[in-house]
């Protein structure tokens, strides 16, 4: 890492609620200006971890550092961060302007400077004309941006976002993603966002921290987490994934599914005959002419066809092995060109470079 101290460094964070272990040995380093997403299903510990960083929850073990300073023993008020909660927690009895000014009024700043800062922030989030309205008079997306402006007003070193978009409808969520990301880039403020929405994490984060049952499963840039999931959990949680039960072949780098042998991504070794799991994403399966003659080509029957707008999802079962079923996404136009329907037999290819391998024990859902 660079010589600059990490904006946030977690070392061995562990937390339990009576007998329930919420977090186990979390260590993580976040660089200044980075946008990090904690991604995971509910109950994975991502919100608890955020609240420990904020000092709103206290860990049983481990240290939190901010900018090199150990803040583990500091109460929330002394940690220098801004936070936006899922509910926004805007003060309903104060106008938008007073909400944004809230964190400035207790500092030794004169009223004119406060007013300037409030206007500046409201302009930044595009709400300058709503300054004198009450929060309840704004839409959900606007309230969200007020909460953001309020959190950013004292220019904190760190911005924490706890599922900030989950209460909004899909369209507003889309546009706010860009807006928050753009704002974060412009201000360069280190940001941690908690979300259970993998699409949101992929679209916004510099790095994603995928969490499951209190552990970090994988840390990496969105493309890497998507393309090279380190565990079956990550593969399943981020994007769609087909899993195929297989047996390790005597040939290194090959596995047997029913009566065919398939070559998979290099980097996984297993004793011949031991059970394993192969995985491939629906859009990585080649269908029809493109598959003919390719490596790992198989015959499959089309069981169901689901039209989903830009692409068509096919439910396939491999010919010769009734148990293995696959889902495969084909561009809608390409599928029309194939001229196939339900019940047809088609050639598919599972490109070795896209076919991942995991040990069978890890893959159990």
């Amino acid at each position: 890492m660079s010589r600059m101290p990490a904006a946030v460094a977690l070392e061995g964070i562990a937390k339990k609620f009576s007998e329930f272990v919420a977090l186990r040995d979390i260590s993580l380093s976040i660089a200044p200006g980075e946008f990090i997403c904690f991604l995971g299903p509910s109950g994975c510990g991502k919100t608890t971890l955020l609240r420990i960083i904020a000092g709103l929850e206290r860990q049983n073990a481990g240290t939190v550092r901010m900018g090199g300073q150990d803040v583990s023993a500091l109460p929330p008020a002394l940690r220098n961060y801004g936070i936006v909660f899922q509910s926004y927690a805007l003060f309903p009895n104060l106008t938008v302007g007073r909400n944004v000014a809230y964190g400035l009024e207790t500092r030794r700043i004169d009223a004119a400077a406060i007013a300037r800062r409030v206007d500046e922030l409201l302009t930044l989030v595009g709400l300058a004309r709503h300054r004198d309205k009450y929060p309840a008079q704004l839409s959900g997306g606007e309230q969200q941006r007020v909460a953001l402006a309020r959190a950013l007003a004292p220019a904190p070193a760190l911005l924490l976002l706890d599922e900030p978009l989950s209460a909004l409808d899909a369209r507003v969520r889309q546009s706010l993603r860009h807006e928050i990301r753009g704002l974060q880039r412009r201000l360069g403020v280190t940001t941690i966002m908690v979300t259970h929405d993998q699409e949101e994490a992929l679209a916004m984060a510099d790095r994603i921290v995928v969490m499951n049952v209190g552990r970090v499963e994988q840390v990496g840039p969105p493309a890497e987490v998507y393309r090279r999931p380190r565990t079956p959990f990550v593969a399943r949680f981020v994007g769609q994934m087909n899993f195929i039960a297989a047996v390790a072949s005597a040939r290194s780098g090959w596995a047997r599914v029913g009566d065919v042998e398939l070559e998979y991504q290099p980097g996984f070794e297993a004793a011949a005959g031991s059970p394993m799991t192969l995985a491939i994403r629906p859009e990585e399966i080649a269908v029809g002419p493109a598959a003919r003659g390719a490596a790992n080509a198989l015959e499959a029957r089309i069981d169901a066809v689901q039209f989903l707008g830009p692409f068509t999802r096919l439910a396939l079962s491999l010919v010769g092995d009734g148990k293995a079923t696959l889902e495969c996404d084909v561009a809608a136009t390409a599928f029309t060109a194939l001229g196939l329907g339900e019940g047809a037999i088609v050639t598919v290819a599972l490109a070795p470079a896209a076919l991942r391998a995991f040990s069978a024990a890890d893959a159990a859902p």
């Binding site: 937390k15 509910s87 009895n93 809230y102 207790t106 309020r150 007003a153």
Partner: protein, 576 residues
């Protein structure tokens, strides 16, 4: 490479400590003050009652001998069965009558529902003595019915007490039942109808199950009120002794403080028991009304609406008649012989006269201020400052509701009139009356406050902290303004109850600190029934004026909260 999986046992139970800040010190200071007040003015006096019940008149420890004497002296022991009988009968009658009344108010299109709702609330503005007086004026030995028909129904005793308690407890039961009946989901009734259920079946399978917790709650509230009431049995009980009057007889009549303490401890048992059973039952309650519920809009039923109109008319008529009788008897020369108009009964010549009324108003106003501040701040530290002290403080705060007023009053004699104790400074002052009222009515104020605080976003304080704003500033800028409707409701609750209470103050009023409700009792004891009626009228009038001011204040607050566009969670008249 896998991370070692740890079990809960591998982690220390302690969490990382935060440095103690100035805010923490203030927080703990508030908790200490709150806990200190409850210990000094609730736990300590109550422990004195228990202790004194184990001593003889000379202060020697005699173990359970007082209890043996209590249960083996038929004349005193009868007060237990009498109390239980009167309370149970009052409970059944009141809840039955109030249920139908509440049903008419909430589930029908009966005309004048608003008027009936207001009429039923009248007994809240009068000491429980007043119901008994009115019954005596009508059915007593010199009552108007007895005089004109020559027929004496024998109102003194159990009959009279039960009837007086029914009127006294009616609004309390009605408030609970009307709230329970109002909280329903029209979709349940639509479902019942589409499944072909008739009106009776719908009532038994949808309506009753929906209000069962309200019914249980109303039963416990009425039972406890009737059990611990002192005014009505004192005024109309005659020779029929109940536990509350027995404490008074032992203490005031026979100066037997040990026996008074013994009866008090025994009276505490059913009251505390009723309280815990009620809490246990309420814990199983689930939310019937969710954000997706549809309000039930009652339909017109000519026959049902008319018969309920007659029913409500009768009950409201009785209640109005009580107040009419009291008002008239205070304004005529000599009820029921000379109905000439006079104001002479308002020239009080005993029991402190107008000074007692001013004292009452001052005590009630200060009780409202102090009680509201203490219960709201108490609710705040319990609800929002999550500390280890929250659990015990909550228990301490809900305990007062099960402490009968007589017991609290006696406890204050023991605690604040003990020779050589520095706490004696309080004795004989208005301050001790205010404190006893605050403690006596603490629980409802506290629960109203915690309910309002629970409805607020739990993250307000965290937002404040993240912005570096101290918690007390967020409390003042955000919490208090949002909870203002509840705060006003709590203060009115304290004021009205402090105006009418008798049981908690009867033992601790002193020359110079007479109170109006006590004056009513003393005037009646002295045979000045017309002056007692006149004083009652003034107490009721004060209550009605304050209630009207409350209504105006509420309108102002509502107008302001409407500016925030989201109608807050104003409890409105819930604790009227």
């Amino acid at each position: 490479m896998s991370v070692p999986v740890r079990t809960a046992a591998d982690l220390p139970d302690r969490v990382v400590r935060h440095r103690v800040s100035r805010e923490d010190a203030i927080r703990w200071g508030l908790i200490a003050v709150f806990a200190g007040v409850l210990c000094l003015f609730l736990l300590y006096p109550l422990s004195q009652v228990v202790w004194r019940s184990l001593l003889d008149q000379q202060g020697r420890f005699i173990g359970g001998a007082n209890y043996v004497r209590y249960f083996s002296t038929p004349a005193i022991a009868a007060s237990i069965t009498n109390s239980l009988f009167v309370s149970a009968a009052s409970m059944l009658l009141t809840v039955g009558l109030a249920f139908v009344y509440a049903y008419a108010l909430t589930r029908t299109r009966m005309p004048a529902r608003g008027l009936f709702r207001v009429a039923a609330m009248l007994p809240l503005f009068a000491p429980s003595l007043v119901q008994a007086f009115a019954l005596i004026y009508v059915f007593g030995n010199n009552g108007i019915i007895t005089r004109t028909t020559g027929f004496n129904v024998g109102i003194y005793g159990a009959k009279g007490i039960i009837l007086a308690e029914v009127f006294y407890c009616f609004p309390h039961a009605l408030l609970i039942l009307a709230a329970a009946l109002a909280a329903t989901d029209a979709r349940l009734y639509d479902a019942a109808r589409t499944l072909g259920a008739g009106p009776l079946k719908t009532f038994c399978t949808v309506t009753l199950p929906g209000v069962k917790y309200g019914l249980v709650s109303a039963c416990f509230v009425v039972f406890t009120l009737a059990l611990t009431d002192f005014g009505a049995p004192k005024a109309i009980g005659g020779k029929f002794s109940v536990m509350a009057t027995e404490i008074y007889n032992q203490v005031s009549g026979q100066q037997n403080f040990s026996m008074g303490a013994t009866v008090s401890v025994v009276l505490l048992i059913p009251a505390v028991l009723a309280f815990f059973v009620d809490r246990l039952v309420q814990r199983r309650q689930y939310a019937l009304v969710t954000s997706s519920s549809k309000p039930l809009v009652p339909e017109r039923h000519a026959w049902k609406d008319k018969s309920l109109l007659v029913y409500c008319g009768l009950i409201a008529g009785f209640i109005a008649a009580i107040y009419a009788v009291i008002l008239v008897s205070s304004l005529v020369h000599r009820w029921p012989y000379n109905f000439g108009f006079t104001l002479k009964h308002y020239d009080f010549d005993t029991a402190g006269g107008y000074r007692s009324l001013w004292n009452s108003i001052r005590v009630a106003a200060l009780t409202a201020v102090l009680g509201t501040a203490l219960t709201f701040i108490g609710g705040y530290v319990v609800e929002k400052c999550r500390t280890a002290a929250a659990g015990p403080l909550y228990l301490l705060s809900v305990l007062p509701v099960s402490v009968p007023g007589m017991v609290l009053g006696l406890a204050y004699i023991f605690a604040f009139n003990a020779p050589g104790s520095p706490l004696n400074l309080l004795y004989g002052t208005l301050a001790i009356l205010i404190v006893s009222n605050v403690v006596h009515y603490f629980t409802v104020g506290f629960l109203t406050a915690t309910t309002a605080l629970k409805q607020m976003d739990a993250e307000f304080e965290n937002v404040g902290a993240s912005l570096g704003v101290p918690f007390y500033r967020t409390f003042w800028r955000v919490t208090v303004p949002i909870a203002l409707p509840s705060i006003i409701a709590i203060s009115m609750y304290f004021f009205l109850n402090a105006m009418v209470t008798l049981s908690a103050v009867i033992f601790i009023v002193a020359p110079g600190t007479e109170l109006a409700a006590v004056a009513v009792l003393l005037m009646d004891d002295a045979g000045d029934t017309a002056q007692a009626a006149a004083m009652s009228v003034l107490i009721i009038a004060t209550g009605l004026v304050v209630r009207s001011l409350y209504w105006l204040a509420m309108r102002g607050v509502t107008a302001r909260t409407q500016a925030w566009a989201r109608s807050g969670s104003a409890p409105g008249d819930a604790s009227a």
